[in-house]
């Protein structure tokens, strides 16, 4: 029997077809279902009137735009900080001459990636809350006179605690993603640039950022869209004043009043549209910054 070999582009697409079909079916089917329900058409609940009323409800709600701004703010800052730290960590690991330390750091990062978000919430609360480990150590060492002097990171409008957790989870992801590509680029370009008198930062900006730009843009965009859509961490740590879109959506989902389902679905659709637009804008801006380094 002749063996099937993907020798050309068409064959490669054919090989990818099964997984594309599954994704298309679930995601596409799901989206179509959500779109239909968001229009108000849910015959099982006796709702048959189709229209944009539920979208208008949400867009005209007094908190929608502040929720959107807050969501974008959290996602933008968490993704930007994760990307900056992640890329820097990947670069330092690439240049590291201490193999054992490099392996240890990678293991810690892998652990950080595996750890569920909820565990991270508890960990960060234990460490960074006003009654947490760090504030107590600082208090006992005399750096602060009362525990209240330790900055309040959680349940605040700044969303500092949420951003901190997202960064702690995002940095390992970006680091390992980018390091994979930087490792393939290798250290030789670093040596060439160094001999020409370039500083480490200059080499990162002019050589490694442009060469690993695809990995940086992808990993950063992935964490950005994830932070925009993630609900569990903001749901647990939001202040009363600011709520992000995903937490608001989750509250609608778990609402026992089933008449809110079309609103929840419209919210869902809006979040998808906002997410797509935001990630396109974010990745384009990032592309300009990262690729601009080489010119």
């Amino acid at each position: 029997m002749r063996k099937f070999k993907p020798s050309n582009k068409t064959n490669k697409y054919l090989l990818a077809l099964p997984i594309l079909l599954i994704y298309g079916l679930f995601l596409g089917g799901g989206l179509i279902g959500v779109a239909i329900e968001s229009s108000g058409y849910i015959p099982a609940l006796g709702l048959t009137e189709v229209g944009m009323a539920h979208y208008m409800n949400i867009l005209s709600a007094p908190n929608f735009w502040s929720d959107l701004t807050y969501s974008l703010y959290i996602a933008f800052f968490a993704a930007t900080i994760s990307t900056l730290l992640g890329v820097y960590m990947a670069y330092r690991l690439l240049l590291s001459k201490h193999k054992k330390i490099e392996i240890l750091v990678k293991k810690i990062m892998q652990m950080g990636m595996i750890l569920p978000y909820l565990y991270m919430v508890f960990l960060v609360l234990i460490l960074f809350s006003r009654t947490g480990l760090i504030s107590r150590v600082m208090y006992n060492l005399g750096f602060i006179e009362t525990l209240e002097q330790f900055p309040q990171l959680f349940y605040t409008p700044s969303g500092a605690g949420i951003i901190l957790i997202f960064v702690m989870k995002g940095v390992p992801f970006v680091t390992l993603f980018v390091l994979n590509i930087m490792g393939r680029i290798g250290k030789y370009y670093y040596q060439v640039a160094k001999i020409h008198g370039a500083s480490d930062f200059y080499i990162l900006k002019k050589i490694y950022l442009p060469l690993s730009s695809t990995a940086i843009i992808w990993s950063s965009s992935i964490v950005f869209i994830y932070y925009l859509g993630a609900f569990e961490v903001p749901y647990l740590l939001n202040s009363n004043k600011n709520v992000n879109l995903s937490s608001r959506l989750y509250s609608l989902y778990i609402d026992t009043n089933i008449s809110t389902i079309p609103d929840a679905m419209a919210y869902n659709m809006l979040l998808v549209i906002i997410g797509i637009i935001a990630v396109v804008v974010y990745s384009q801006v990032l592309k300009r910054i990262v690729k601009g380094g080489g010119h």
């Binding site: 370009y189 040596q191 060439v192 001999i195 020409h196 008198g197 080489g294």
Partner: protein, 339 residues
Amino acid sequence: MKLHIKNVKKNFSSFRVLNGVDIIVEKGSFHAVLGVSGSGKSTLLKIITGLESIEGGQILLDGKDVTHVPTETRGIAYVFQSPLLFPHLTVKENIRFGMEVKKYDKKTIEERVEELLKLLRIEDLGDRMPSEISGGQQQRVSIARALATEPSLILMDEPFSGLDPALRIEMGNLIKDLQRLLDLTIVFVTHDINESLRLSNYISLLDQGEILQSGLTHEVYYKPQNRKSASIMGDGNWIKGIIKANRFSSSFGDVSAIGFPTGEAEMFLRPHQVIIGESRAAFKVKISGISRLGKETQLTVAYGEEFMKIDTFSNENYQINQEISIMFTDSNCHIVPCG
């Protein structure tokens, strides 16, 4: 710039890669470091640039100790074995790189880039990407990039090893011309004997992390200090004999040995220094082996119990067991006292 590599020692884990390497590179010289793969040549160059640290010794540039000076401030250029052009930059941008780092003004950068493109004969390639040019052209660009900031010392790590033989010779000639034209100081690492002989005026022989011999290329070639030095640079004939009353006597007769101590010694001759032809001083020898290499023929001849290698460009059709006459002049004989 004069470079002094002083008693440099380098270990990789517990393995000693360089063991007290001592080389002086004179200003304006083309200094080859010849050695087989794994002898420590590339490591030595990286130590000179500061890319590798050392366990002992010093690197002196014009007498100034730069052992602990960071790579980026040493002002040394390096041409790697592979061109290593930055793949996302055009040829011109690659050449500009070092000048931009050192913040040359724009006008100077543009003028220098044009000058180097012309000098390296790659004027038409300025706007191309590295992936759009050949290996030889890429290596020219990497040389142009190295020359851009007018470095006082250029290190070259087998830069033509990836090129075909004809291009290798062409590139070698180009570098030699540039070295003369710009009065460059070049340290050129290679394992190719012919390349080192063709290009360098000074040579150091590196073997298992130690310098066997250093000096003017033709002196090291014709007057090796020992059998190992001689063999690194190619075939040779060692003839055993005795020095007595300023004469070296062997089965091939006597040659002058003024100034040498009395006792056992060896005489060294490269195969092409043995002349085939009749004269009163000639010896009759029998051909025991023939290798024909196109324009050159290598003969192995027997004289009693001694064997000798001879290189000749004669197109005569030599035969095994054929008797021929050979001779050599006193001035070509290099005498090495034993012990």
